[in-house]
């Protein structure tokens, strides 16, 4: 009973903290808009390319909405719920939790429940807005079961799984920061797209089950239909035109399907329980395997908490062990004769040293390898794609590290706080340029210079706005994945896809605007 109570209160406090964040209202507004987009057909699901769709009844709309919500939760939900342990460290509640009788498993399961309900509230607001709009603008009040069934079947397990993975990543050494964010993004994209190519062991969204059910209904009406391996769904700015419609009353609830979805929830709970092993319970001197994560710090983490994560060697020693007690009267302090003035190069070097010092030796080694390979194979697109990902941990810290390390009051009251921001951006740009210098100077990929200016400006602005690396990470990963990794010319900032002039101009203007905003915006109000 005590464990249940502890679990419930952990979940409730986690949920309350999330809901009282002003950003929740913004997310809710975005979800309501997405619900509206389903009803208006901006978000659509079609089969046979963009040839067939179901009759717009509650079952169809509910399924489109649930799949859309589940897709968004899979790709972006992770970034919304991660950092929960880091938040407890920053709020200084970690020692209270660690010294309380609550078991680590109970605590983590509570956090998991809080995060899952949070994601469900967001997805639920999409469903609710769809139901309300369906009643007002559509055929009438929908049958609750028609919308609720796909929601329970698809969205609930996905929310549970995403939150579980986020917690597990945070408990595992080295995955709590940017590296974990990048790995998750790649994994999530792979998991979501894999069912399109055939049966897979983990069909997170149950896409194949829905596809098979819809195909069966469609072929009854259009036996001659030529259908692809998977339906298409997404956000479209233009209407698809006249689509052939077919009746579909929703997916049949088979015992196998329900068991698989329930299994996903159960598996998520098991994953969270398993994460209690490497959790470490906020121990500032973690076990050796946890120290392996040192050098890959999360920007969300409070460095004053698990100091070992950042500086294992230092924290291993007793803090005061080798420091002599100060004399009873301090040494005399003379007046300073030097004049104070802006020294851009000194500031740039100081900022550069600070930014590079905290990176692990493996990061430096990788960066050097990429720089060398860039000069050796300047036209190799794959190298350029990786080069645009490698400095992400460094960029993620821009505008964030001051807040996380609670240095902001010192920086903001120094003589040149704006120059510090410019220097931080310049360091980010210099690192970016170093990594793409070969392709730019040797391979003629001059368009990559746009990214050199744009990406650190985006990171700095996002960091200063959100005080967290997550906003930058998710925006940048999407841009990188579409523009650079998939070589989409219209979004390419990395010199991989012959971006049109309008794109390069757009990124340049955005870079200037973001940099100006980041530098000029002051915390004081």
């Amino acid at each position: 009973m005590t464990a249940v109570r502890a679990w419930l209160h952990t979940a409730l406090s986690d949920l309350r903290a999330r809901l009282r964040d002003r950003r929740f209202l913004l997310m809710m507004a975005a979800c309501i808009y997405l619900g509206h987009s389903v009803l208006t057909g901006r978000i659509e699901l079609t089969l046979g390319g963009r040839t067939y769709r179901g009759v717009e009844n509650a079952a169809w709309m509910g399924t489109v909405l649930s799949l859309s919500a589940a897709f968004l939760l899979t790709v972006f939900g992770f970034y919304l719920v991660r950092g929960v342990l880091a938040r407890d460290r920053q709020a200084r509640t970690a020692p209270l939790v660690a010294s309380s009788p609550v078991r680590s498993v109970t605590y983590l399961l509570g956090k998991w429940a809080g995060g899952t309900v949070f994601l469900l509230l967001l997805a639920g607001s999409m469903a609710l807005s769809l139901a309300v709009l369906f009643a007002l603008d559509g055929p009438g009040l929908p049958a609750p079961g028609a919308i609720l069934t796909p929601f329970l079947l698809v969205v609930v397990p996905v929310a549970a799984a995403v939150t579980a993975v986020a917690l597990a990543f945070e408990c595992l050494p080295g995955l709590g920061g940017t590296v974990g964010g990048v790995l998750y993004f790649m994994g999530a994209v792979a998991v979501v797209t894999a069912p399109a190519f055939g049966p897979v062991p983990l069909d997170l969204l149950s896409m194949r089950a829905f596809h098979d059910s819809m195909t069966e209904a469609l072929l009854q009406q259009y036996p001659e239909a030529d259908l692809g391996p998977m339906f298409t769904f997404g956000y479209f700015r233009d209407a698809a035109g006249e689509l052939k419609v077919f009746p579909w009353d929703g997916i049949a609830l088979t015992a196998d399907l329900v068991a698989r979805r329930a299994g996903l929830v159960l598996g998520s709970a098991v994953l969270v329980a398993g994460a209690a092993l490497p959790f470490g319970r906020f121990d500032p001197s973690p076990a050796w395997w946890a120290q392996m994560g040192a050098g890959l710090p999360s920007s969300d983490e409070d460095p004053s908490g698990p100091a070992a994560r950042d500086t294992p060697s230092a924290s291993a020693a007793s803090p005061d062990s080798s420091v002599a007690e100060p004399p009873s009267r301090p040494a005399s302090l003379g007046r300073l004769s030097a004049s104070l003035s802006l020294r851009p190069l000194r500031l740039f070097l100081a900022e550069g040293r600070r930014a590079l010092w905290q990176r692990s030796w493996t990061w430096h080694l990788g960066a050097l390898a990429l720089i060398g390979a860039g000069w050796g194979w300047p036209t190799h697109t794959g190298l350029l794609v990786v080069a645009w990902l490698w400095p992400m941990p460094l960029w993620s810290d821009l505008g964030v590290r001051e807040t996380v390390c609670r240095v902001a009051p010192l920086v903001d009251t120094a003589l040149y706080p704006r120059a510090q921001r410019v220097a931080a951006w310049a360091v980010g740009s210099t690192v970016a340029f170093a990594l793409v210098a070969g392709p730019v100077l040797w391979g003629g990929q001059w368009a990559a210079l746009v990214g050199v200016f744009f990406v650190p400006a985006l990171a700095l602005a996002a960091g200063r706005l959100s005080h967290s690396p997550r906003l930058f990470e998710i925006v940048y990963l999407v841009l990188w994945y579409i523009g650079v990794a998939n070589q989409t010319a219209a979004l390419d900032f990395g010199g991989v896809a012959q971006a049109p002039t309008a794109t390069l101009l757009g990124y340049s203007v955005a870079a200037a605007g973001l940099l100006a905003a980041a530098v000029l915006w002051s915390r004081s109000s």
Partner: protein, 293 residues
């Protein structure tokens, strides 16, 4: 050197009025800003340090409005925030050098200054160790060194002795006294003993307002001859606390010996006692203060 605070108020977006119509002029010497937790001391410090802007009133340094011209203040400011943070991956020397660059110190001067400051705060032996492994007291000492990097004319220290052990506290007070000889030092604290022996002037805040400004001696004079000591039975301490500001209660074979401020002799057995700054401070903040003329 003069800091002039004129009718300054600060109301946060949620409606909290942290500072209400505070006026204060501060010149060379050590000014102790005393007040209970939540009195508005830290907000006033942040206003002076140009971290936040007032919703009303003006702050001037040597006649220049520091809200309009924050660089004027930052050039001469040394600020030690209540919860000082630092980059754990840097050593003490590297961190101070980084902050020196932000404060506009040239490299050579910074190196000399850092060397001196590490001596002053007793961290010379730990200069090349990562800050991530520093204890709370050591971090505080780095913060003090950081605040003194640019040789400030105005040193603003917000609860600087939190986390320091008794020896470090004494040492820090001595340092502040030395610095205050030719600078303005503003020290915020809720611990009376931090300012008792060092402050040339006290400003006491309560509920966002400036309750009084005075020299420590004048403040003590307000309660002189009104401080009493007597022994009460154990069960009667609570009613005594309700009636008088009790500044000390110690065990006694016959009950509890109380040290309290009262305008009249509170008990037939009460005898006059030596007045302290703590008596004056608590009497001032008491709900039913004795008449303070």
């Amino acid at each position: 050197m003069e800091l002039h605070i004129d009718n300054v108020s600060k109301t946060y977006a949620d409606g909290t009025r942290a500072v209400r119509d505070v006026s204060l002029t501060v010149s060379e010497g050590l000014v102790g800003l005393l007040g209970p937790n939540g009195a508005g001391k830290s907000t006033l410090m942040q206003l002076i340090a140009t971290i936040t802007k007032p919703t009303a009133g003006t702050l001037r340094w040597n006649g220049t409005d520091i809200v309009d011209h924050p660089a004027t203040m930052r050039r001469v400011l040394g600020y030690l925030p209540q919860d000082v943070g630092m980059y754990p991956e840097l050593t003490a020397t590297e961190f101070l050098d980084y902050m020196a660059a932000l404060k506009g110190l040239p490299g050579d001067a910074a190196r000399t200054r850092i060397d001196t400051l590490l001596d002053v705060v007793g961290l010379q032996d730990a200069r090349d160790r990562s800050l991530g492994g520093f204890s709370g007291g050591m971090r505080q000492r780095v913060g003090i060194a950081c605040a003194l990097l640019n040789d400030p004319d105005l040193l603003v220290a917000d609860e600087p002795t939190v986390g320091l052990d008794p020896a470090e506290r004494v040492r820090f007070r001595t340092l502040l006294t030395d610095l205050a000889e030719d600078r303005v030092v503003l020290l915020s604290t809720h611990i009376v003993s931090d300012v008792e022996a060092t402050a040339t002037r006290l400003a006491i805040m309560d509920d966002g307002r400036l309750a009084t400004t005075s020299s420590p001696e004048a403040l003590i004079d307000r309660v002189r001859d009104r401080v009493w000591e007597w022994v009460v039975p154990r069960g009667e301490l609570s009613p005594v606390r309700d009636r008088y500001p009790v500044t000390k209660a110690t065990r006694d074979p016959n009950g509890v010996r109380v040290h309290a401020v009262a305008a009249q002799q509170p008990d037939a057995d009460a005898s006059p006692a030596e007045a302290t700054l703590e008596d004056a401070y608590l009497a001032l903040l008491s709900d039913s203060p004795p008449s303070l003329s």
